[in-house]
């Protein structure tokens, strides 16, 4: 063991300061010779003779220094360090290759690492708590339905304090309440009712005051609340004396007892906690509000032990309460994983998520293979160097090692760039997720985990193996001796750009064409969906969109039907008062409501149209539908084309009337009269068909009608506010939208503290979240196709340059013999032209097929035109780019003079 340490120490010393070690050896040997010379002087030798004799007695200093280096084991390391230095020099010497390679490799390594980091954060996120690995989530799955059953109050009460493997058990329920501060602002807050045990499990000290305590859970305890850092800063002005003050949550008042620090957000994105008051009373099984559980394993207990204990308890419960518990199975998982697993056995899910990495490794291999082509072309220019070194006794491994080291330098730099870009990309993705979810899980951070660095390093080594070793093995094959002869003789032979590389270039071009075509179509699709040609026919940025809900907690103890009726009554009153207050507000020009607002995704519906059964498919005509208020069309500047608009009387539940937009008339009815026709919803999965609805009016489209498909038609039904689920309200501002937004919150707070205004934003921002995935995918593909294009260009450039370099003599002689320069270029580049053409054809055919398949999905009326245009544009773009790559080598070829030919042979 100690000998290993000594070895490592020596290795480390050599690695850090090889030149210092060398200098030390020199000093030590010099000292020896001087001492010997002194001894000889004392024996009567002259100074000069003593020095000479001492040097002879010692032997060659250089020789023993070499032996010393060997003894230290530095030799191979010095070789490596030379290789790495050479690698750095190569980066500078071939800037074009460096830029292309860094671009491609950093994208592949960065994207792969960022993806791994993202998946790890998602599934294996680490809670920033002490002993976080002991914190587990418990879900109870209903094996009959295949879904988790969240109604676990009875189990929680039975299990807490009685489990041996889990020392602390906490439960929580979401809290849908408005937080109302002293200034009257009522805003929804992400809060939970939670067991005090949760704070004990987390062991995070509060910033101010105290966390929740078991006494707070007792029935009759004073209502207290612990607030999160962002509620404290954004809603309470970071008041240092906040402890002891009151806030209102809906109609109830709570005393603030603590403020938690910023990195605490249990269970995931929450920043307000009130005690979950559950006494030991009887709770019916599989009943009550959704309640989730988590806990802390007892010291030394594994998850499987806890799982075994809960499984045993569940088996007993199944025997005792077969009616409710027969199919229930508790599952214990690490906390973060338990939040994300959507299926009982999530192994497959994990496998799918992690196998996303295969895509990035494939991308890396593709990029690597391309750069290997370039490196091979560069290696070809060092043909003589390699041949001579081989002749002088350098082993194949040694030369391959050198090229590997050069490639490793390249890929390491790429990994550093990739990780930097990747961490920025991750911040962007997390920002998008945060915008979608309202807040990020509190354990997500911007740091990259050590695993990600290791993964990036592994990818860099893989890339170096592909980029460095394959060209090295091709360049140092058995024919190297022949090449040595050729390089010293008068022939121009040497390395050939063989079949493998030709294949790589052809594949590259084909892949680029396919990628570009697909990206083009996706881009078009995103543009169309996003409203590129679906711009709304009204100033959407002047409208506030919000969703109105009431807190349900007041009705906990009544039956579902009673609850529903009471809720509707309250919603009707609240909305009516809200509408009245808005109508007298000077800054508000108008307001309406509907299940969806223009720009949102309306509900999909299959309808049967009276008199058109013969021409519609048996499953019905696909379109979108929504329920709206009477003044919906006026508010959105949609004007009446035929028939009439909705009137108050239509709001009655049994009025079977509908209004359609012009797209319905033009695409589905092909311009026939719509008013007076009847439509009804097709029967769905065993349900009866909807009632026949009479079309009473036709209005202009809410969004740009150009190129709309039949499925984009809209059918509107009238509905009272309380029957509109979900209830979205649109408010038109006269001037300042932001001022209207905060005014609306005040109005809502005044009318009913339990009225929750959520999803509040300007109407032009609505719907964007739906496009995030498509947008992200299109961006990723665009990035990949950029890389593919640059690589295709670089590959063709390398092939051309290589050809010119190899055939300099031939071209020179042809020029000397009076050949036409154009013919020379054609002759020289014939093979490259062929390869590009093959690539274009091989890529063009699948690209055309793919594009033809997705074309009609993207644009209804002109799908084929768009498809053909996209395909041709991709082909043309690749052709132009590759032609551009030929320009410089071609110019070089044209400039070759006969004298160059003489020099080159």
């Amino acid at each position: 063991m100690r000998s290993l340490f000594a070895n490592l120490r020596a290795f480390w010393r050599g690695l850090r300061r090889p030149s210092q070690v060398d200098a030390d050896m020199h000093d030590e040997m010099r000292f020896h010779i001087d001492m010997e010379a002194r001894r000889l002087q004392q024996r009567g030798f002259s100074d000069q003779e003593a020095a000479r004799q001492a040097a002879i007695a010692f032997g060659g200093v250089e020789k023993y220094r070499g032996a010393g280096r060997d003894a230290f084991g530095f030799t191979w390391m010095r070789g490596m360090s030379t290789d790495f230095r050479l690698g750095m020099r190569m980066l500078k010497k071939y800037p074009g290759l460096t830029v292309v390679a860094l671009f491609a490799l950093s994208l592949a390594i960065g994207a792969g690492s960022a993806y791994l980091e993202f998946v790890n954060d998602l599934i294996r996120g680490k809670l920033p708590f002490p002993e976080a690995d002991r914190i587990v989530g418990i879900q109870v799955w209903d094996q009959e339905s295949g879904d988790p059953d969240p109604r676990q109050t009875a189990n929680f009460v039975a299990w807490r304090g009685s489990l041996r493997s889990i020392e602390e058990l906490a439960a929580y329920r979401p809290l849908d309440r408005n937080l109302i501060t002293e200034d009257g602002r009522a805003e929804p807050v992400r809060g939970v009712e939670i067991s005090a045990a949760a704070f004990h499990i987390a062991q995070v000290p509060p910033l101010l005051g105290r966390p929740l305590q078991p006494e707070d859970e007792r029935a009759g305890a004073a209502p207290v609340v612990v607030i999160g850092y962002d509620v404290w800063t954004s809603r309470l002005g970071s008041d240092p004396d906040v402890i002891g003050k009151s806030i209102r949550l809906g109609k109830a008042s709570y005393t603030i007892v603590g403020v938690m620090p910023g990195h605490f957000g249990l269970p995931s994105t929450h920043s307000l906690w009130i005690p979950l008051q559950l006494n030991d009373a009887f709770y019916p099984r599989r009943d009550g509000p959704p309640t989730r559980m988590f806990g802390k394993l007892a010291p030394g207990v594994t998850i499987s032990t806890a799982q075994a204990e809960l499984t045993a308890l569940a088996a007993r419960a199944a025997a005792d309460f077969p009616a409710t518990d027969r199919h229930l199975r508790p599952v214990v998982l690490p906390y973060v994983k338990s939040l994300w697993s959507a299926v009982e056995d999530s192994t497959m899910q994990l496998l799918v998520l992690y196998s996303g990495n295969v895509f990035f490794v494939g991308l890396l291999a593709l990029c690597g293979a391309n750069i290997a082509t370039l490196v091979f072309a560069r290696t070809a220019t060092r043909d003589v160097e390699i041949s001579v070194r081989t002749a002088l006794g350098a082993s194949r491994a040694r030369i391959a090692g050198q090229l590997f080291a050069e490639a490793l330098v390249l890929s390491s730099v790429a990994a550093i760039i990739g990780l930097t870009i990747g961490s920025f990309a991750l911040k962007w993705v997390k920002g998008v997720v945060a915008a979608g979810m309202g807040s990020l899980p509190f354990w997500w951070n911007d740091r990259l985990e050590p695993e990600t660095f290791l993964y990036a390093a592994a990818l860099a080594v893989c890339a170096a193996l592909i980029v460095g070793v394959i060209p090295a093995l091709k360049a140092t094959n058995a024919r190297v001796q022949d090449r040595l002869k050729q390089s010293t003789g008068a022939t121009s032979g040497g390395l050939k750009f063989g079949g493998v590389w030709t294949g790589v270039i052809v594949t590259q071009i084909a892949v680029t064409v396919i990628f570009l075509a697909v990206v083009g179509m996706l881009g078009w699709s995103a543009y169309v969906t996003k409203g590129g040609d679906r711009s709304r026919n009204f100033p959407a940025n002047q409208y506030v969109s919000l969703r109105l809900r009431l807190e349900p907690s007041d009705f906990d103890s009544v039956s579902p039907d009673q609850f529903d009726a009471a809720y509707r009554t309250r919603l009707r009153n609240t909305h009516a008062e809200f509408a009245r207050r808005m109508s007298i507000e000077p800054a508000i020009a108008g307001a309406t409501y509907g299940t969806r607002l223009p720009g949102m995704n309306f509900r999909e519906m299959f309808v049967e149209i009276e008199g058109r059964q013969a021409v519609t498919p048996s499953y019905g005509q696909f379109l979108h539908a929504g329920s709206v208020g009477v003044n919906y069309f006026d508010t959105f500047h949609s004007s009446l084309v035929a028939g009439r608009l909705f009137i108050e009387a239509d709001l009655a539940a049994n009025s079977n009337v509908a209004i359609v937009d012009q797209t319905f008339v033009t695409t589905i009815l092909k311009g026939q009269e719509a008013v007076g026709r009847h439509v009804r919803e097709m029967p769905q999965a065993g349900k009866a068909p909807g009632p026949w609805l009479e079309i009473v009016g036709v209005v202009t489209d809410l969004t740009d009608p150009t190129n709309k498909r039949p499925g984009e038609s809209l059918l509107f039904r009238p509905a009272a506010a309380e029957a509109t689920v979900p209830l979205y309200v649109a408010v038109r501002a006269r001037t300042d939208v932001a001022a209207v937004m905060s005014r609306l919150r005040v109005i809502a707070g005044e009318i009913d503290p339990s009225a929750r205004l959520t999803e509040m934003m300007t109407l032009d921002a609505v719907g964007d979240a739906d496009l995030v995935a498509l947008d992200f995918f299109a961006r990723l593909l665009a990035g990949v196709s950029m890389v593919a294009m640059v690589l295709a260009m670089a590959g063709v450039y390398a092939l051309m340059s290589f050809t010119v370099a190899r055939r300099t003599a031939e071209i020179g002689i042809r020029v000397a013999l009076g050949a036409n320069p154009r013919r020379i270029v054609t002759a020289t580049f014939a093979r490259a032209f062929t390869q590009v053409t093959i690539g274009l054809v091989l890529g063009g055919i699948p690209a055309a097929l793919i594009v033809a398949a997705i074309g009609p999905e993207v644009a209804a009326t002109n799908g084929n035109e768009v498809a053909i245009a996209t395909c041709l544009a991709s082909l043309a773009l690749v052709a132009i780019v590759t032609a551009f790559a030929c320009v410089f080598p071609a110019r070089r070829a044209l400039r070759i003079q006969p004298i160059d030919a003489l020099k080159s042979i």
Binding site: R2, S3, F5, A6, N7, A10, D24, M25, D27, E28, M29, F31, H32, D34, M35, E36, R38, A57, F58, G59, G60, V61, K63, Y64, A67, G68, D70, A71, F72, G73
Partner: protein
Amino acid sequence: MGNTAELLPGTLDLLILKSVSLGKLHGYAVLLRIEQITGGALLIQQGALYPALYRLERQGLIESEWGVSDNNRRAKYYKLTTLGRQRMRDEAASWNRLAEAMAAALRATSQEI
């Protein structure tokens, strides 16, 4: 052949270990110590001492530190490690066995056979 002998392969390491076992020495002093303890009977190529020292150091049998010599020059001093002392004992024992065996073999007379 006078009163000196060529060094047998492998013996230099043992001689170095023995020299530095008697106290901290710099390279040149190791040479002098070997000359001294062998009575100048063994011929050593002086430069060959250093690769041997580095090898022993790498193996953790000796360790080194820079110091100042008697004549006020910077010199590298070597001393035996515990591991080195152990190895020296083993090697010495094995050497002694070999030497005795050789001596016994060479002493053998025709009567003993």
